[in-house]
Symmetry: C2
């Protein structure tokens, strides 16, 4: 039954050869759609986060979002230059984990990898909760269900990815270009209205006004929140191999186009937000407020507003989906290096790395539950988790250039040094001024590092222990002892006895009797002797209600004796198999439990004899 359900939700299994046609190469337009959603969608929450920090002092402080915005734009330009360099240096696609591992050290690579794993969970959580905000800003009646909407979005993405979502660029182009078009239209229309004098100046305070309570610390905090908009810029540099030739050139151009669009949208939204004088209110995002003000209340205006909110929600869903592509790939790579469990390397029925997809979905949902779907509290963690691996990978690039060009490396690594400097600065600001929000990052990373290293250590030990020597020991046993566990005397026991007689030189039937079932136990014993007079019957008495412990004890005893005689020991567990698998629920899982506990005993083979019911 379970496998039927699985087929309905996940789809029929695919053959390995079905994978071929996924490798289509991307044009710039397609690549922009597939790789920029994470970066572009961040303008749905980035500018708002800056304003949120500023208004914690006073609404008048909002004008500071303009200079902060300019700094963010400068950083965006620098990061873009820096990542164009990465593209040319690692045309095979250099993720932060690989670049750091190769150029710095495996441990630094693990810090990168661990941060990114957590970060992809945060990407999903932040994107879906912002998406839910966009939906409930348009439909206020849904506001109490924000968290529910977020969780349902994660589950939908999970199912789609377990089905093996073909990321056909075409299907992704619609939401991404719809969002670009509607945002550019909104900003353009807003500026036009402004020039025509239809959008009056309502700023909470003029630029340059001194606001009491605005300190450098506050501005730095606001800046770090704004820098959340810079996340996702690296995506293109990780995916160079998927571009049409000339790969590096096309990728670099695409990155430049994306940065230009992102910069324009960030600047436009920050400016209009200031001009209109939008102050955050509960239940409606500042972006939605802005769209409402600019588009007005006419029927057409309302329609455009809904389209805009829908496109925002859609691109955020697509952005969350990038986490679902990236997390399983990264965990596959780390599992290949033996830092994560093998199960992350198993491809599922539909050729996706199902375990990675499930882990990501569970992690994101837990984050949503812990933070109550609150974007504002997730952002600082998200930012530190992004900029630590960025800083490391940019440093790695500098080392890379040094290795390649020796003394003259400086010429090549200017951009990366700039990028690294920016990332370290942001990390330092976060450490100094937002430690209260980001501290969980550090225990998490330390625990993850410890786990990665323990796993590697374990795999190495196991491999060493399993390796065969040149000479292998051939054991010729003197005979076989079969111990059959008997609960009741039924057709199952009859079949099991026949089998045991066939493989065993010695057969013992064992029954555990508890105090309460004494009467029934005597009946079992006499019935057994009547049907199987030739087989030794042992009744083990126990004062526990649980029959597992006495069984294991008796098996241990028997095994010790058999070993001395040079006999093998087989414990045969008879069981019946109902005609439908769901009916298993109705029967004691005692045989499963027994088998589980018996496997901990050495020199004992545990075998199941199954009798199949017809009805």
């Amino acid at each position: 039954m379970f496998s039927k359900l699985k087929n309905i939700f996940i789809g029929r299994p695919l053959k390995s050869s079905d994978e071929g046609d996924e490798g289509n190469l991307l044009t710039k337009l397609q690549a922009l759609a597939m790789l920029s959603s994470d970066a572009l969608s961040s303008i749905a929450y980035g500018p708002e986060q800056v304003v949120l920090v500023l208004v914690s002092v006073s609404a008048g402080a909002i004008w500071w979002s303009l200079p902060i915005g300019i700094v963010v734009l400068i950083l965006l330009a620098s990061l873009t230059i820096s990542y164009r360099q990465v593209i040319h240096a690692y045309p095979q696609g250099g993720g932060a984990y690989m670049v750091t591992t190769e150029n710095l050290s495996p441990k630094a690579g693990l810090i990168s990898g661990g941060s990114l794993l957590v970060d992809y969970m945060l990407t999903v959580a932040v994107s879906v909760s912002s998406g839910a905000d966009a939906i409930t800003s348009a439909i206020p009646a849904l506001h109490p269900y924000n968290l529910h909407i977020s969780i349902v979005l994660v589950l939908i993405l999970m199912l789609m990815n377990l089905r093996g979502l073909r990321e056909s660029a075409v299907s992704l182009m619609i939401p991404v270009y719809l969002f670009i078009a509607s945002t550019v239209f909104l900003i353009g229309f807003g500026l036009l209205q402004l020039l025509l004098g239809n959008l009056s100046y309502h700023a909470t305070a003029p630029i340059g006004k001194s606001i009491s309570g605005v300190s450098l610390v506050l501005l730095l905090r606001a800046f770090t929140s704004g820098s959340a908009s810079l996340t996702g810029v690296e995506a293109i540099s990780n995916s160079v191999p998927f571009f049409k030739t000339p790969k590096a050139e096309n990728a670099a151009k695409t990155l430049a186009i994306m940065a230009a669009i992102l910069g324009f949208m960030f600047a436009g939204i920050t400016f209009l937000n200031y001009w209109i004088g939008i102050v955050p209110v509960k239940g409606v995002t500042t972006l939605a407020q802005m769209a409402q003000t600019i588009l007005g209340n006419s029927p057409i205006g309302r329609l455009l507003f809904y389209i805009f909110q829908l496109s925002t929600a859609l691109i955020l869903a697509v952005a969350a989906n990038t986490g679902f592509s990236a997390f399983p790939m990264l965990s596959y790579n780390m599992a290949k290096n033996k830092y994560m469990p093998h199960m992350y390397m198993e491809k599922g029925a539909r050729l996706g790395y199902s375990n990675g997809i499930l882990t990501l979905a569970i992690g994101a949902i837990l984050l949503l539950l812990i933070f109550n779907g609150n974007t504002e509290r997730l952002i600082p963690l998200y930012t530190i988790g992004v900029f630590v691996p960025f800083a490391l990978s940019q440093t790695g690039m500098v080392v890379h250039w040094r290795k390649q060009y020796g003394k003259h490396f400086l010429k090549y690594s200017v951009a990366n040094i700039l990028g690294a400097a920016i990332c370290y600065t942001i990390v330092a600001i976060l450490l100094l001024f937002r430690l209260r929000d980001i501290w969980p990052f550090f225990p998490i990373i330390i625990v993850l590092l410890w786990i990665f290293l323990s796993i590697k250590n374990h795999y190495n030990k196991v491999a060493k222990q399993l390796r065969l020597n040149e000479e292998i020991e051939r054991v010729d046993y003197a005979g076989n002892l079969v111990l059959v566990l008997v609960g009741n005397v039924t057709r199952v026991s009859a079949g099991a006895m026949n089998y045991a007689r066939s493989i065993g030189d010695e057969v013992i039937a064992m029954h555990v009797s508890t105090k309460e079932t004494q009467e029934k136990d005597e009946e079992v014993a006499s019935e057994f002797k009547q049907y199987f007079p030739d087989i030794q019957f042992v009744n083990v008495e126990t004062s526990y209600r649980n029959i597992i412990r006495p069984t294991v004890q008796y098996v241990t005893k028997i095994a010790r004796g058999a070993q001395k005689k040079g006999y093998t020991v087989t414990v045969l567990v008879p069981q019946f198999i109902p005609s439908h698998s769901w009916q298993n629920m109705l029967h004691n899982q005692m045989s499963l439990k027994l088998k589980y506990f018996l496997r901990w005993h050495e020199n004992v083979v545990v075998a199941s004899y199954s009798y199949h019911l017809k009805e």
Copy 2:
């Protein structure tokens, strides 16, 4: 590791004989503490529910809670008389399930049983969410975490019960008598203040004032909500055997005392609520508002208020706990009658019916999540779920008297006819006027009935199929074929081969190779032939990535051939066991999966050879 964790949270396993001293008999004072929490705690939400329905029209309608309260008190008196009768008729303790099954029909019994199972979940959900309300009424800062508090309360109760909470009457006497004392004090003090003129009359409208919008339907709806306070009255009649002798007499007296206390508290709270003019507000229960008003804002008054809220929360937790005693017992009884899975009959390590406890906790948490911890929406369902089995069991009692006394049964069954009439009336009112709230009850009960009957049917079929005939078939096999699954050539395979050679007359090693692993597969084949030249090696090729399907197919083929020759077939799955159980996570669970799928194949014994790692 898991078993260590289990020992920490659940405690070390107990022997069956440890159970003896649980059977201490109860004095009336102790019994009142143990059996009345459900009924008494309902005044924490019952009176409020009446008011909530009335104010949906207008605050002025609150005076109607007085006449409604009088009707509820009359019902309470009648139900008390009726249940005193039950006590004398079923001194062995007649739960609704047993009384209905015996006197009406097994199917009616299943309706009773099913309703009660759902109802115990609702008891837990309603009680913990009311308990959370009591806590957050006292500490408003916790208000946003109402649902979290409820769920944590359920989990705490679950763990306590899995540990095998010794319901020492002493430990339960504290919360119950604290609640009785503090509530009686509150009502007494309130009335005193009123007589002294310190508590002024603020009723929202005088008694008898005509309020537009008040209809008979509204009053009946309010009445059904108030009748939620009557739930729990039956608890004493189910537990007669636990009383000291004379059992029936003591139980009947205890019931009368409890009813008197409940009636006094219900009347007092309803009256003071009306006099003070309390209107429900969000975040503070009406009972907490009343306590605040009566006790005032002096430091002593605040302290008493906190004590009162604490005692309310405590008795509600104890009431929720009655669900945890009753649900596992009822499911045990139904499992014994084969209407529920056997697993509900297994006692856990600490002598509690763990599966029942877990099922109840999961059900209650699901209800809390579905209804967002909202007491108001759970109450109507709770009420129908209680009164349907009550009505059936009262009817059953009438039948019982008729069987016992023939024609003269009327004399004996007056009280039960009265009780049944009340219950049927309440059920009818619920059906007619609250169908929108209670409809889920019907599909749930129908589905449960169907499940119960299917389970019974299944168990009967299985028993028939397993029964041995007089003559049993003795099969003497011609030989044994052992098929060993080989993934890699390691020490595990070496041990498995030795064992296979010992029990098998014919040994085949089988390896599945997928397209992608071709190179590695060739290596495995050549290595195998080098180490085990005497054993036949079969390489099964597949185009699926999954190795389960081709393995099962090959095993099926081999089994068919062996059966013709009169051979047994054993599939040997070699596996290694890490030195710590948590390390299992790190290894492919392929052997488990294979064993699971192979068990569906008849005439094949599946055996595991375990190689134990030392480090």
